[in-house]
Each structure stands twice: as structure tokens, then as C-alpha cells.
């Protein structure tokens, strides 16, 4: 009988793969709809969510998820009539929520929290309960993505067409925001607040280079993301480097290898 190994290393890999299952397809949407900076702002605000969750004594992931949703909602209120562009508002919210979060946590002398764990993740301390939560959240998010995939692709292709043909693009956009907030809440434990967006974007960017269709890109992104988790964890074990950043470095190595391979292939096809 095959037993799931119960050591910190295996738990870390299992948790990481649970995250990439949803980060793959969602990372594609972040790239397609240019949401990288929004994702960044949501991720930064997560620290405020953590602080509030500690004060209110609720689950950290729930706190992060709620605050990310709040950020997305506030941003949707910014329109072209506002005196600041969405870009500037994002900048203000992104950094001030991070700062408020840091200040609030520094007040909480009664609990010992290591802020670095939140900033860069602490995947090797992941518990089975957290893994269960990660997989449950991933399963729900994946279910929504699969169920709403056509509408989401329709919105990505062209919003006007989607609106005219009754796909309700605004609803779909809100759904994407909720999914993004959920993904960031999961990512916090794995790579931390600072590197979350990297793990959304880099595997999807690697996948873009070989994919012919949106579906292929999403599936390749999951594959490259999972490979990054496994590769990064072994790298971390071998060189005694921090796991979160190692995973991102490994993802980048995959991206660069793919870019080089594609460049060489194009060169050889052109007969240079």
C-alpha cells in the first residue's frame, strides 16, 4: 500500500501543488487581462488582512480573502472621471495597506508572529489542516473556473462582443476578482505576500510560449507551476535556501530555458 509520506518536505510539495492547480489558469487571466499590478496590490493588502484576522481572532486565510475583496471593490469604484488614475490608486492602496499591516502587527506584542513568514511564506511549516484548506479552496475555485470558462474566455476575447451576445462580462469580471482574492489567500502560506504574483505570472508566461489555445496555456501553466514547486523544494533542500524564493527562482529558470529554446528554434527555422 502506498502511504503518503508525512514529513515537512512532502507536505510542502503537496501544499504547493494544490496551489498551482488554481494558480495556473488564474495566472493566465492575470496575464491576459493585465491584472498583475492589481494582484500585487491585493497581495500586499494581505498583511493588513492578517493583522485584522489576529485582532478579530478569525482564520488568517479568511482575513486575507476579505481584505483582498475589499481592495478589488474599492478599485472598481475608480473610473475615468476620478481625479486619480486607477494605476495611482493601486499604488496608494498597495503600499499603504502593507504599511498599515506592518504597523498593526508591531503593536501586537502579546503574540509572537514572524512577519517574515508572511512576507516570504513558510511552506515547510504547513500543517495537514492547512493542506486540507488549500485543497478545498482550490477545488472550489477550479470548479468555478471550469464552469465559467467559456464566459471568461469570451470576456477576454472582447468585452463588447461578450456584452452584445449576452455573456454578462461585468459578472464574469467580479467572479475573476473573487477568484484572484482566494488564490492570494492560499498563496500567502506558500510563497508569501511579496512573491505571490510571481508564482501566478511566471508559469503562465512560460506556458504562453508553447500554447496554441487558451486551454493549453492554462494546463501548461499548472504543469510548469507544479514543476517549479518540486524543483524549488529540492533546490532549497540541496542548497539550504529559503523555500518560497527558491520556488520562484526555479520558475524563472524554467521560463528562461523555454525562452531560449524557442529563440533557438526560430533561428534554426529561419535558416540563420
Amino acid at each position: 500500500m502506498f502511504l503518503i509520506p508525512d514529513d515537512f518536505f512532502s507536505r510542502a510539495i503537496i501544499a504547493g501543488i494544490g496551489f498551482t492547480l488554481v494558480a495556473g489558469p488564474l495566472g493566465c487571466f492575470v496575464i491576459w487581462q493585465r491584472l498583475a499590478y492589481l494582484g500585487e496590490a491585493m497581495a500586499h493588502s494581505a498583511l493588513l488582512g492578517i493583522a485584522l484576522a489576529i485582532v478579530l481572532d478569525i482564520n488568517l486565510m479568511v482575513g486575507v480573502f476579505s481584505i483582498c475583496l475589499f481592495i478589488a471593490f474599492m478599485l472598481s469604484r475608480v473610473n475615468s472621471d476620478s481625479f486619480l488614475s486607477g494605476d495611482s490608486v493601486l499604488g496608494i492602496m498597495s503600499h499603504s495597506t502593507l504599511a498599515i499591516g506592518l504597523v498593526l502587527i508591531s503593536f501586537m506584542y502579546w503574540i509572537r508572529v514572524d512577519v517574515l513568514d508572511f512576507l516570504f511564506g513558510n511552506i515547510i511549516s504547513v500543517t495537514w489542516l492547512e493542506i486540507a484548506m488549500i485543497y478545498m479552496a482550490s477545488a472550489v475555485a477550479l470548479g468555478v473556473i471550469v464552469f465559467k470558462w467559456r464566459a471568461m474566455i469570451g470576456l477576454t476575447v472582447d468585452e463588447q462582443i461578450a456584452a452584445a451576445e449576452g455573456l454578462q462580462p461585468n459578472q464574469t469580471r467580479i467572479l475573476l476578482m473573487i477568484l484572484l482574492a482566494g488564490t492570494i489567500a492560499i498563496a500567502m502560506k506558500i510563497v508569501g505576500i511579496i512573491l505571490t504574483v510571481a508564482l501566478l505570472i511566471i508559469p503562465a508566461a512560460t506556458a504562453r510560449q508553447v500554447a496554441k489555445t487558451p486551454e493549453q496555456m492554462a494546463m501548461f501553466a499548472v504543469a510548469f507551476g507544479s514543476a517549479s514547486v518540486v524543483g524549488g523544494m529540492f533546490m532549497s533542500l540541496e542548497f539550504d535556501t529559503p523555500p518560497g524564493p527558491s520556488i520562484v527562482v526555479f520558475a524563472l529558470l524554467l521560463f528562461l530555458s523555454m525562452a531560449t529554446a524557442m529563440l533557438m528554434r526560430r533561428r534554426s527555422q529561419e535558416g540563420v
Binding site: 464566459a151 452584445a164 451576445e165
Partner: protein, 251 residues
Amino acid sequence: MKNDSDNSVLAKLQSVGVRRNNRWLVRDIDLTMHRGEIVSLIGPNGSGKTTVTKILAGSLEPDFGSVQRPPNIKIGYVPQSVTLDSTLPMTVQRLMDVPQPVDRSELIKVLTELDIQHLANASVQKLSGGEFQRALLARALLRKPDLLILDEPTQGLDVHGEALLFNRIAKIRDRMNCGILIVRHDLHLVMVQTDTVVCMNVHICCTGTPERVQKDEAYLNLFGKKAFEARALYSHLHDHDHRLDGSIKDL
């Protein structure tokens, strides 16, 4: 004019108005679309044409007036300009399945009809403007729409390409028996096959057959006699097409 009460009506707007920021985008619009009818909606920039198409398509609820549409009317929409983000991998064939997968043999038939079957596996971002436009038209057609809305379909086409497209649109109408709304800001050349021209500038200035609208006082006031006279009209009657090397090919 056909009888409005029959079941060929696809959409009926009555005294429809939309007001935003204390300004009328459109007002007092009466417009009825029938099955098998080609309507050209013309008007200068900012005259509210797009607002009317949105109301027809049901994506915008007007503030005033009434809209009657039979339930489950299928809209096919080909927008004015679409630029597909280069980050989205998309072949012509995959684009046809947005939003719903379509029948393969039907797909090949429509692509052939629009002369882009050889591009089925090409990446959408590598198409020329005209090819992409036809791909978008093919996608809209594969939805088997009851009402096909074409927003500035001839943008970027030369006179010959325009005539070719108009022929194709007329054929589509005959084959699919759908209503077709063509939106244009160029008023001087409407499609020969147009049944009704609706000329608007916030409100509807005049309606009628192409011949009638041309002589209408409101039309002349709106676009100016001078501008009209500066162009000569010539009804192309192409009975052939050219291959790339210039040789003649029968249509």
C-alpha cells in the same frame, strides 16, 4: 414596410431615449428590425449609433421608451475594432468556438464561404485586418444569429473589398434569413442591397429606402450637399474576381 405585428420582428424600439450626464445620447428612437431585412444605420461620429446597437442587443436598458424583443433572440455581433491581446494564444479555429463549441463541418463551410479556410490553424494575431474581420464575421455567423450586428464592417477595406463584403452579407441574409444591422458613419456609400436606411443624429433624422434618404432634406442638412457632391457614386457589378497574379477568376 412589413407589418410590425407579424412574428418576423426581431426587435422593436418605441420612443427610446438614453440620458447620461444631463445629455441625451439618443432620444425618440423608433426602430424595428425584421427577419431577412438589411438595415443600414448611418450617422456622424457621436450620433449615438453604438448606443442604439447596445439597446438592440439588450446589453443596455434605455431610460425612456419601450423595447420589445422576442425572448431568446440570438445576437451575432461584429464590433468595429477588436485587437486581441497578443498574450492570448488563439487560432482562427479556436476563435470560432467562442463562446460555444460549434459543429466542425459547419465551421469549415463558413470559413470557406468567407475565404479564410486556409487560415484555420493560423494564430489570430498574425492575420491582416481584413482577414481578422472576416474571422470575426465567421464566428458571429456560426452562432446562427437571428440578428447580426456589423459595426463599421468596411473599415480598412478598399472599394473592391467593400463590394465583395456587401455581396457576402447579402448572401448571408438570403441563406440564414436573419436580420442584419450595418452601422456606418460613412453616409455616402450604403450597401446596394440595403432595404432600409436609418439616418440618425441623436434622434432619427430620416428613414427609408436608399433612394429616398438620399433626397431627404434632413439627410442633406446633416451631411451637407457639398460633401455628397464631392463623391461620385458608382454601383459596382463585379462578375469576376482577381487572383494574386492578376488573372481573372469567376465568382
